[in-house]
Amino acid sequence: MGFDRREFIKIAGISALAGLGSRAAFELLQPGELEATSASYAANQGALNAKRWAMVIDMQKCLPQEGCKDCMHRCHRLHNVPDFGNAKDEIKWIWKEAFAHAFPEQESEYLAERLHHEPFVVLCNHCANPPCVRVCPTKATFKRKQDGIVTMDMHRCIGCRFCMAACPYGSRSFNWRDPRGRNAQGEPFLEEINREYPTRNKGVVEKCNFCVERLAQGKNPACVEACRHGALVFGDLADDHSEVREILREHYTIRRKPELGTDPSVFYIV
């Protein structure tokens, strides 16, 4: 019988493939997967829920509070956002940008000067059609099915920064260096630590997460809670009776770069 080396390797290869596909091998490679457990996972009781979370930023209330940075400080402190002290490496979840920069297509020489250079609060728009989610090669950035929040799985991010190229709002920040490090003067980049929230490691992208961890505890986002002037309103865009829908009915609002089809969930009263 002609049973040469070539034949042998062929048969061995096919058997190996068949073996790998079998149930036993599956069990071997993924222990516990096929095992039934009586444990279960559920959303927290008392969590805040919505079909589509959205925010209205009332600049008529915000602008008079010159120099106020309550929302930014609270957010950055609670989320352990480091301060690297330079613009190149900077990480931002919520910050201020001049109107002309936040809404560049609205720019006009004759725009009310009141507006032109006025700082507008900007953050991730939690788009209904987010380009960052579309481009992420590992689903590290994803849109939550239950409430439309665009958030990140930091464990999965490979740091390719495709999302930063895709986001038309500059809302994404990369950890160019270790946020737990210190500057040349020996001062830590994180001055205060919130021990209930993780930091990030170097080499991953991060962004505003609409405080998913607080919503799960039944609390409003940190920035909304921190604002003493009621300029930030958070609510369900899909709910006719929500406060945000109430405000949107009453006021003329604008969104950043709606012409790009991203369908942002952050609205501005100017």
Binding site: G32, A39, A43, N44, R182, P188, T199, R200
Partner: protein, 141 residues
Amino acid sequence: MMLYDAGKIIAGLVIFAAFFTVPFWYGGGKTSEMPKLELTAQARQAGQCVEPKERMRQDHMQLLDDWRDAAVRDGNRTYTSSTGKSYTVSLQNTCMDCHSNKDKFCDRCHGYMGVSQLYCWDCHLDPTEEKTVWASTDGNS
């Protein structure tokens, strides 16, 4: 039987064998002692982790992965264990609340088993660690 290039082949085999057995030479034939599990008073008082001891010992890595995905990806942050009790799904705030002795509870055994390359603590905060400790390990400064 003929063996062409016998010298080269035998020398190659000897080098291969030496290289392959390096761990044994390196360890000098000694075995290191398995670390004893040390629990905090809080953990001892609780008596049981979120799942029975055997299950935790064997599958804690799988459970942590499931917890991670449940909390981060699905937004499910309440875990009802097979014992019927409910827990908040959080490494930092639930696990480490009881097991606040990371160096004894996690590190020693991971070190013994040679799985010390875990990156959990690059981001999650270890309750025993002072901020100043990790801040000084940065390569930038």
